[in-house]
């Protein structure tokens, strides 16, 4: 699979393949006369499953905290559920069904019950039962589950796709690389791999067919090569490359505590994007000069019910007290992100529907609680700014600002101290906002361009849809000119503007954005040091010329050629 897919996170990894395939287990509708033997099998399988799950729970607790581990406690309870076990035993004894057959039938009944419930949250429990069913049936059929959470040596995960719960169950200490068959540079796996600094290739179609569990695999996510069971010479070459890369990372480390400056001393602050306080370590380790996008969805998605004010304040404070400045984005759910306790109507086009600020206007209490928590958490912080996502028109900004004022009045009335001078800004991620930037700039204190969505809305191309991936093109000059329009409007109005989408962390485009005069670039922490090092070798005048040339280009390929020429000439 040498050149399949896209490199989503840089680096080199060598390890054993572990596939994560959600295979359906086949169960034959058979009878077993030896009831005693079947019952014994059942008890053993339940016991082994419980032991596995206890290990997984402990791993999850260690690597991600007790909240993530709770789900596995529930799984343990389900495995040992007296009602379910009783029904299985009754089938084994009464109808003389084989243990796997009986277990499968009972589990399926429960899966049906939950799948047919109206409540989305309960519906999802069907997935939990499917999870434990797979594990128990595997043991009942005398096999051992293929369990990536229990790996204990250097491993490269190969999967069709990884869901957040898949990654939650991984023991990251031993995961050295990822390969997935689907997904683009902004997929969950890609973003997570960059946040953790683990090399990854995504969208490698048919990857699962090219490997078997236990194969040795060398993943080169620098020059885009994947070697399955390489010969000794290749393996040695890759090991050398891996150690050379580690040395390179150490040289980058020298830039950790430095300010980002061009060769002629122009500042280009490089900020980090943050998905949850757990990622703060990566932010400080990579020397971020601030946080340009603090996503707050984690608080809402990791819990069964709306997090209360105190919980939110605590989480926000943890971030505000570690790094400054911080731009915190208010809740952006809807689209592909839903939370169980907010009922969302089924929409034909969720990305064009009620998401982000649109949803917050409808869930006003939820929005106000978040604003309250932010204002209180920032009470001693001068450098916290609030950013509103998915603004399309001026009236939305005015409405949001009046809600902020309302919250402030309530806090005044309750004599609660909060931050009175807080900047309010907006994401520029809908083309209409970029085109109307001049009017919007009069209403707010700053802009930040969310390129991931801006590209998707500008070219009408779903960023997760591989069939239109040719349109999801960050090098397109139309996009760059649109961003330039927003920048000119911002600077004319005297407010600052940054970029917080994935493109800010792509070296080539970061150079263009620096040359354009962006006031900060916010990216995955793992991209910061390399861009800082590169900018230190370049003159600001040269970068400006690069941007000017790029803005005059007609298409993406031309932009790529111009940037390549620039790098050849200047680096």
């Amino acid at each position: 699979m040498m050149k399949k897919g896209k490199m989503a996170s840089k680096g080199i990894a060598i390890g054993n393949v572990r596939t994560m395939e959600h295979k359906e287990i086949t169960v034959e509708d058979k009878q077993c006369d030896d009831v005693g033997a079947s019952l014994k099998k059942l008890n053993e399988a339940l016991e082994k499953s419980t032991q596995d799950l206890e290990k997984i729970r402990d791993n999850a607790e260690q690597s991600m905290g007790s909240e993530h581990a709770e789900i596995f406690d529930a799984h343990i309870q389900m495995v040992n559920d007296p009602e379910m076990k009783g029904q299985v035993e009754a089938m084994i004894e009464g109808e003389k069904l084989c243990a796997d057959n009986a277990y499968n039938k009972v589990a399926n009944q429960f899966i049906d019950i939950f799948s047919n419930m109206e409540d989305e949250y309960f519906k999802e429990r069907a997935a939990d039962i499917k999870d434990i069913r797979t594990r128990v049936l595997t043991y009942l059929q005398g096999k051992t589950p293929n369990d990536p959470s229990l790996i204990d040596k250097d491993t490269i995960i190969v999967a069709h796709d990884l869901t957040p719960s898949d990654t939650a169950s991984l023991n990251l200490e031993y995961v050295k690389g990822f390969i997935t068959e689907v997904g683009g540079l902004t997929s969950h796996t890609a973003i997570m791999a960059r946040a953790l600094g683990i090399p990854a290739i995504v969208g490698a179609q048919g990857a699962l067919e090219d490997v078997n569990d236990g194969d040795t695999l060398a993943l080169d996510a620098i020059d885009h090569n994947v070697y399955v069971n390489p010969d000794d010479a290749t393996l040695e070459k890759m090991q050398d490359k891996l150690s050379a890369y580690k040395t390179y990372l150490e040289t980058l480390n020298k830039f950790k505590d430095k300010e980002t400056l061009t060769k002629d001393g122009v500042k280009v602050p490089l900020f980090a994007n943050l998905g949850s306080p757990k990622e703060l370590q990566g932010v400080t380790e990579n020397g971020a000069e601030g946080i340009g996008l603090f996503r707050t969805e984690f608080l809402f998605m990791e819990s069964d019910s709306q997090p209360d004010e105190a919980t939110q304040i605590e989480a926000y404070k943890e971030v505000f007290e570690t790094v400054q400045p911080v731009i915190v984005r208010t809740l952006d759910i809807g689209g592909d992100k839903n939370i169980p306790y907010i009922k969302q109507p089924k929409e034909d086009n969720p990305f064009l529907g009620k998401r982000a600020i649109r949803l917050c206007f409808d869930e006003i209490e939820l929005f106000k609680t978040q604003l309250r928590a932010l204002l209180i958490a920032a009470k001693d912080q001068k450098n916290v700014r609030i950013m509103l996502p998915m603004v399309a028109v001026v009236s939305e900004v005015r409405r949001a600002k009046s809600i902020v004022e309302e919250v402030q009045k309530e806090l005044d009335a309750e004599n609660i101290t909060y931050q009175k001078n807080i900047d309010i800004g907006i994401m520029i991620e809908i083309p209409s906002a970029a085109l109307n930037a001049k009017a919007l700039a009069e209403e707010v204190d700053f802009f930040s361009i969310g390129s991931n969505d801006l590209i998707q809305y500008l070219f009408a191309a779903d960023r997760m849809n591989e069939h239109v991936s040719y349109l999801y093109e960050p090098y397109d000059p139309t996009l760059l000119r649109l961003m330039h329009t927003a920048l000119e409007a911002a600077h004319e109005a005297g407010i600052d503007i940054g970029v917080c989408g994935e493109i800010a962390g792509q070296l080539d485009l970061a150079l263009v954005l620096a040359g354009m005069g962006m006031d900060e670039l916010s990216m995955s922490p793992s991209s910061i040091l390399e861009i800082r090092k590169t900018l230190s070798k370049l003159n600001s005048k040269a970068l400006q010329t690069l941007t000017k040339d790029v803005l005059n280009a007609k298409e993406a390929s031309e932009v790529k050629t111009i940037i390549k020429q620039f790098k050849d000439d200047n680096l």
Binding site: Q77, M78, M117, R125, D304
Partner: protein
């Protein structure tokens, strides 16, 4: 046998995470513990049975305890509802 009827006033009803904690708590007691909702009687020690009831807001459920220290068990269970943030109203 001890018997008590309560109303789940919590906005989300008896939802999954607290249900699992309450079921776990029930497993700690030796007695036979049942939960009755709309005529369906289930074993409170079974998380799957509890969840499959899907008790909504204002659902009226009856708890019964048979065996063991019944008073202690009943109080322990009622406390567990409280600890899980499930608002209840005792009849």
């Amino acid at each position: 046998m001890k018997k008590k009827t309560i109303v789940i006033t919590d906005e989300a009803g008896l939802h999954a995470r607290p249900a699992s904690k309450i079921s776990k708590k029930a497993s700690e007691y030796p007695g036979d513990i049942k939960l009755i909702f709309e005529g369906k009687e289930i074993d409170l020690k079974s998380i799957l049975a509890v969840m499959s009831l899907a008790v909504p807001q204002n659902g009226e459920v009856t708890l019964t305890v048979d065996g063991g220290d019944e008073d202690k068990t009943m109080q322990g269970l009622l406390d567990a509802f409280g600890e899980q943030g499930i608002d209840i109203k005792e009849d």
